[in-house]
Amino acid sequence: MNIAVRLENLNFDYGKDFSLSIKELSLNKGEMALISGGSGSGKSTLLWLIAGLLRAKSGSITVAGQRMDGASESAADHIRARHIGMVFQTHHLLPEFSAQDNVALALMAAGEPEKTHAARARELLNKLGIERVNVPVANLSVGQQQRVAVARAIVCKPAIVLADEPTASLDDVNASQAMDLIQQACREAGAALLCASHDRAMQSRFERVIQVNSFVQTVRAQAHSGARA
């Protein structure tokens, strides 16, 4: 099975104000695609749907050969933990936890044996250039925190990494470095990358660019713009 994620006849709406319809979209393992679109266009909504954190009205979502749509909440949790890595704009690391513990959280969620957590997390962090693995992440630089967040996303060797505006808060130089890191990590992990970004400059980094506007059927008001940023 080479397909990391496949969406078919997917329909989703936020009431009458916003609806999203995808006839077919798939991404192979190792493939990297950018979801492009302006703020509030539904990029994040698409990522949440794939992650199983939002439920589609109809259609199918298959992640690593497993149906996410129609799956029970616990089954969706399991698919997300085993096959999906997530990177967020503000990293969302737990500040009181060490870098190693933040990465180990993903292993714990995926049900990996507890005795392997520390070694696997440490090994990956070292590979990504983080030596002080037991320091609380609040004491690390922003760049180091970004590496920890990427390590957490790929430590379980997911089929796909979903990155939601990972460079939105960074300047051009740091944004470029961050994307290098994410893409290289996904490449080495053999994971597909679906990256949502409003930054047009990012398009040159991806072999495939998906315009989210082509899926959106109606946008009547901005009432839900926050929810589908």
């Binding site: 994040s44 954190l53 997300r80 737990l94 714990m108 969620a109 939601d164 939105a168 926050g226």
Partner: protein, 424 residues
Amino acid sequence: MNDISIVVKSLSSRRLSTIITAASVSVATALLLTMISLRTASFEAFQRGTGTTHLLVSADSSPLTAVLNGVFYANAPSNPISWAKYQEIKNAFPYDWAVPTQQGDSFRGYPVAAVGPEFFTRFEPVRGEPWQLAQGQFPSKPFEICLGSTAAAGSGLRLGQKVFLTHGSGTSREGAHAHEHAEYPFTVVGILKPSGSAHDRVLFTDLDSSWILHAQDRREREGVEGLTTLADLKDEDRKITGILLRLPTRPGRDASAAIQQQFDTLRRDTSIVVAQPAQQIDRLRSIIGNVDELFIALGVAVLLSSGISILLSMHNSMAQRRMQIALLRALGVARMRITGMILMEATLIGCAGAIGGCVLGLIGNAIASGALKARIGLVVDPTLDPRSTVIIVAGAIVLSALAGVLPAITAYRTPVADNLRPQA
């Protein structure tokens, strides 16, 4: 990484709040443990003082007063019983023993009791535990005195020392009116081992000495000079304030069917009051019980308020932890597992508080038992009652876990997407 390590890290990240919340549980638990342990132990200690006495006769106003005065030395009995009445009571029934006692004097605030010799040889302050001497001997002739263990420790008296008794209880209330029997020094001849009863704070002497002291006062009032001797005693000088009675029982038994019968017989004599000490202790227990139930109710209220403080502390922290919860959900951690972590957090606070409460309770019991021993000579076991401890500790932990239910529901309902979006 596991659920417990996440919970422990979460608690340690809010260290001050966690410590304060657990401390409130500790205080409530300790208060309840101390109240219940002391209630049980102090009533056991009260029971000890009655010893092997079946009936107590006095001329006090009520049976309860008779027991409080005659067994616990609360006050000197106000009305005397004549020696003739004692003889009449003693000879009216084949008692196992009948010990006359006379109270009314004191030494540095410690009560003095003049007793018949059977008090040391037949009466047992605690059933199965007769008097034992730590030093010296029991009084065997007039003007010898034997000290209870608390009285000995408190007064600092040693064997061979001379003491002068004071007429009355010797409290500060009597002040300058207290009259010292300066003509008759008493010699300390013995110090008793602790009995764990109110008798430990008493100085014991013989009846003849006590009668001579008071006859001397009478003779001074009458203008007779010189020291009083046994030969000078008149019948009116031979007065006592109480009689400890024990009826014959079968070997190994403490009760006798004749006790109630004899009790009823003695009650017909309106010049005396007769009490069954065990009954009066139970009555005292029911009176004091209302007061300590109030304290226990207060302890329960404090425990409930500590549960509310856990709820508030965790509820307030939920606002800061929405991102943490949403992140765990995004990583694939199930809602119920996160809910369980929140409940575990509340339960851990309860456990820490309950353990702290047991330690505080032991300290509280030790302080309270020390104070009771020093003030009224009651020996109270400072250890915690196992059954009550298990119930209270389990109650504190269950209450803490319940306090975590609302925050756990909040965690369960936390929306993921909204809480992972960058704040505007």
